[in-house]
């Protein structure tokens, strides 16, 4: 069986994987980081979003082999120890989650939006950028609020935001 070496949340792993292993399967089943979820099989729901080399990707639509040598951040790696990432904090503060299943992907996507677009996001931009993430609980209302607030918090001295990447 071939192996891949990936750095996940700051820790390097070399893991034997079958070629057909998806990145999300590596993360969930081999590394037992179960915060990253699978909500569909057509690459649409976004519950599986992680960062690979700093960019948001759908880990259900990437082979583990393709992540060889990459740096991966999952929801478990976002907080700085016991200090939550500002985006995590914003989701709690603004009730941006209900059942929690889409939440890890939402938060990872949200952090990616801010990394690309900065901390001053209008509602239209946020809704547009959430194109690839489906939530069935919240009607997005509070997610949009949370992303906006989290973005402002990240821009305004969110040290943990950068440190985590």
């Amino acid at each position: 069986m071939p192996n891949v070496t990936v750095t996940v949340n700051g820790k390097s792993h070399t893991v034997d994987v079958a070629p057909e292993t998806l990145l999300v399967e590596l993360i969930r089943e081999k590394l037992r980081l179960t915060g990253t979820h699978v909500g569909c099989d057509t690459s649409q729901c976004g519950a599986c979003v992680v960062h690979v080399d700093g960019a948001a990707v759908k880990s259900c639509t990437m082979l583990a082999m393709s992540a060889d040598g990459a740096t991966v951040t999952t929801i478990e790696g976002l907080a700085n120890g016991s200090t939550l990432h500002p985006m995590q904090e914003a989701f709690r503060e603004h009730h941006g989650l209900q059942c929690g299943f889409c939440t890890p992907g939402m938060i990872m996507t949200a952090v990616d939006i801010v990394n690309r677009k900065g901390g001053n996001l209008d509602e239209h931009t946020i809704r547009d950028e959430l194109e690839g993430n489906i939530c069935r609980c919240t009607g997005y209302h509070n997610i949009v609020k949370a992303v906006g607030a989290g973005a402002r918090a990240m821009a305004g001295g969110g040290k943990s935001a950068q440190a985590a990447e």
Binding site: V38, D41, C45, C102, L130, E131, I134, C137, G139
Partner: protein, 787 residues
């Protein structure tokens, strides 16, 4: 109000694990030595199973076993059942066909399981499943409920001739006919309430484990009601006695009704685990979920509303054909009957109502409760009829509603319900102010200048929640009681554990329930934990659906807290040498009336357990109480949603310009959580009205079998909502709560379709009003205007 008590927007306690990726959903669990299960499913909607050959598949790498319906029958594992008995007009009981967890002789929908493969890995199981040879004798299929009872239609179950499960009715037929005969005006509508796929973001999953030494089974599953699952799997399926079966529903990623039901896969997982003596894990993928989760709605209805010369509604009659699908799911029979026709009075004083409902089998996935369950269908009928009637009569839809609102309580409708409290005009008036109704005309003119159509639509809905007095639902055919249980365990150090039969899968019970306890006992909210979802921990409970957990589940907690308070007062009395009757309890402090003598909560809880101040003859040590709460009535949340849309007539694209919801949920424990429930409900209702629709082709293939074809609401499809409340406390439970989980999904489809039809100028706009549909409707509308 304290910062963590009743009425405070307390941030959710459960969020810590969800935002850090440390939740514990069923699919996150692995058990040592587990095998993976993959089901062989029928590609045909209707076929006999002539032969199954598993021999080649069994030899494939990693395969542990392959089991079929014959094996299941051989082990005398019973079928699944529908737990609500409905009686037809002629007094005959409903015709329930057998529902084996794995089909043995015949498949009745695409996705019906015909075998299960157990293998070391999922890939191996899936590979072997493809190698299972099944010879089918393909039969013609029927998918359209309106055609299911036609002569010559394919027959699904021998027990149900013409695919008719029941033809049921409610109300006074003669009085209703008389009302229509005397009517000045009759409004008629043909309505299809579109079939929906619930699509909780977490697909269903089940892990079963067999403990050989104790001959006991454990099931982890994605359930909204683990105790009911255990009861059914034990008593009806006959898997194991209740005390030898533990069901654990850990974190559950949304349900919306679809995780109430007892499904074949969890039965098979348990049975297979015992057979192969290894844990069995099954996780649905989304494609499988589309085929096998119970769907929602799917009604074909003709409805009529009679009005007199004074524009008073005098009668309402409906005939509905309800599609039950291929098998009767757990509560399927109740949805188009007692959860539907009993709400046909809406918010209006209607003297005569008559409803007829035919429930039919078709070669489609089973249909059961989905967020609102019957009440959205009823609301859609009533609110479309009322809006169209107002338009036909040339009245402002608000005025017509006002003229007909129920204004005095209690109000007995002709369809069972006794409304206990409400102020319908108050919520509508507030909603109209919030959306600036009086200036809608200006906004419409502005849109028209830009080549756009604009419309506004009302939905003044009512629903019945907190279902309901057990005796009442029993008399209507329910197989279970609908009370709830609670146990309050106070620890010696004063921390509190609440065991509840309710189950949270997004609703935030760990916070809301703790707020009640914090408020009542004056203890910090962090010292309260909520335990739910495990039949070994919680004695019995009925689970969470029907917006019942606040009104019923919290009432049970409140009742148990009364007992805790009584007992704690006795302990405090012994501590301070005073009679229990002389003890006052407030803000976590026990005081002897009229003195400054007091003891704190922690002292009392410790004394309850060390028992040094009283003898066993005077008082039992300990501080733990339980309660079962049975509601005295339904609760009746009601309110007004107003939708305002702008339509691009060239493309049919709808933009929701404004959405206002003013709901009366009675007293509110956590307004932040309540608003979140409303937002989510609206999104699902908007989804039904303009995006979602499960579609089977004539052969019974599900055309909308993935998110590629089944349109789920995305962030960009929706606006921010303006949400507010009015309050008339519910008189029939101690907390004055009505329930909020389903209101949004119940109210919103009618509001949106009323807005779209208002914009296009005619009523012929089916759901879902996709761009294609709206474009066509807008063309028709413009033609009409030009004529």
């Amino acid at each position: 109000m304290s910062a963590t008590g009743i009425g405070a927007a307390v941030r959710r306690k459960e969020d810590q694990r969800f935002i850090t990726g440390t939740g514990n959903y069923t699919s996150d669990i692995t058990r040592p030595g587990e095998v993976r299960a993959y089901f062989v499913r029928s590609p045909h909607a209707h076929a006999t199973i002539d032969k199954i050959d598993v021999s080649a598949a069994k030899r494939m790498p990693g395969v542990v076993d392959i089991l079929t319906g014959a094996d299941l029958a051989g082990d005398k594992i019973g079928g699944l059942i529908c737990g609500w008995a409905i009686t037809s007009k002629d007094g005959t009981p409903m015709k329930m066909g057998a529902h084996p967890a794995i089909a043995a002789d015949k498949v009745r929908c695409v996705g019906d399981a015909v075998a299960v493969v157990l293998a070391e890995t999922l890939l191996q199981a899936r590979d072997a499943a493809e190698a299972v040879q099944v010879d089918y004798g393909v039969l013609p299929a029927v998918v359209d409920p309106a055609k299911a009872t036609a002569k010559g239609a394919p027959q699904l179950h021998d027990v149900a001739p013409n695919n008719l499960i029941y033809d049921w009715h409610l109300g006074d037929k003669a009085a209703t006919e008389a009302a229509f005969a005397a009517a000045k005006h009759v409004t008629k509508l043909d309505i299809i309430n579109n079939r929906l796929v619930p699509n909780a973001m977490e697909p269903r999953a089940a892990i079963a484990e067999y403990d050989q030494g104790n001959d006991a089974l454990t099931l982890w599953n994605t359930s909204q009601n683990p105790h009911v699952a255990r009861l059914v799997i034990s008593a009806f399926v006959g898997m194991a006695p209740e005390h030898k079966l533990r069901v654990i529903a850990p974190d559950v990623g949304g349900g919306f009704g679809s995780k109430i039901f007892i499904y074949p896969e969890e039965v098979v997982a348990l049975w297979a685990a015992r057979r192969v003596k290894r844990p069995v894990k099954w996780v649905s993928d989304r494609s499988e979920a589309f085929l096998t989760d119970a769907h929602g709605r799917d009604h074909v209805t003709h409805a009529e509303l009679a009005t007199d010369a004074n524009h008073k509604i005098t009668g309402l009659r409906v005939h509905t054909i309800a599609n039950i699908g291929s098998y009767m799911s757990t509560f399927s029979s109740s949805v188009p009957t007692y959860l539907y026709a009993t709400l046909l009075s809406g918010q209006y004083a209607i003297p005569a109502i008559y409803a007829e409902v035919d429930a039919v089998y078709t070669n489609t996935a089973p249909v059961d409760a989905y967020r609102g369950a019957g009440r959205p269908e009823a609301t859609f009928v009533v609110e479309r009829l009322v809006e169209v009637a107002a338009r036909e009569l040339g009245l402002d839809p608000a005025e017509f509603r006002r003229k007909n609102f129920v204004t005095s309580f209690p109000h007995q409708t002709p369809v069972i319900m006794t409304y206990d409290a409400g102020d319908y005009d108050a919520s509508m008036t507030k909603a109209m102010e919030m959306i600036d109704y009086k200036n809608f005309g200006k906004r419409k003119a502005e849109s028209e200048k830009n080549g756009k159509l604009r419309g506004i639509g009302f939905s003044t809905y009512i629903e019945a929640c907190g279902i309901a007095p057990s005796q009442a639902v029993g008399s209507l055919g329910a197989g279970v009681g609908l009370w709830e249980s609670a146990e309050v365990r106070v620890n010696p150090t004063g921390s509190v554990e609440i065991l509840t039969g309710s189950h949270s899968h997004g609703q935030g019970h760990e916070t809301t329930f703790a707020q009640l306890v914090s408020d009542r006992l004056g203890v910090p909210i962090d010292t309260v934990s909520i335990v739910h979802g495990d039949t070994d921990k919680v004695q019995f409970g009925m689970g969470t659906y029907g917006s019942r957990s606040g009104a019923v589940g919290m009432s049970a907690i409140s009742k148990a807290l009364d007992k805790i308070e009584d007992k704690a007062k006795k302990v405090a009395g012994y501590m301070m040498e005073a009679a229990a009757d002389d003890i006052e309890f407030k803000d976590g402090k026990f005081t002897v009336k009229g003195t400054d003598k007091s003891v704190g909560w922690g002292d009392v809880t410790l004394n309850a357990y060390i028992a040094h101040k009283f003898t066993g003859g005077q008082l039992e040590p300990g501080l733990k109480e339980g309660a079962f709460y049975d509601p005295t009535n339904f609760t009746f949340p009601a309110g007004c949603h107003l939708a305002e849309v702008e339509i691009d007539p060239e493309t049919g694209k709808i933009t929701i310009a404004n959405w206002v919801a003013v709901d009366d949920f009675g007293n509110i424990i956590n307004p932040m959580i309540v608003e979140g429930q409303v937002h989510g409900g609206i999104a699902q209702g908007v989804g039904q009205a303009m995006l979602e629709g499960a579609h089977y082709n004539a052969d019974g293939q599900l055309v909308t079998g993935s998110f590629m074809d089944y349109a789920m609401p995305r962030a960009a499809d929706l606006p921010s909502f303006k949400v507010d409340t009015t309050v008339t406390p519910c008189p029939s439970n101690p907390l004055g709560i009505k329930g909020c989980g389903e209101a949004g999904a119940i109210a919103s489809p009618a509001a949106l379709i009323n807005a779209i039809t208002n914009a296009v100028g005619h009523e012929n706009v089916p759901m879902p009003a996709t761009p294609s549909v709206v474009w066509k409707a807008a063309q028709g509308g413009m033609k009409k205007a030009a004529e």
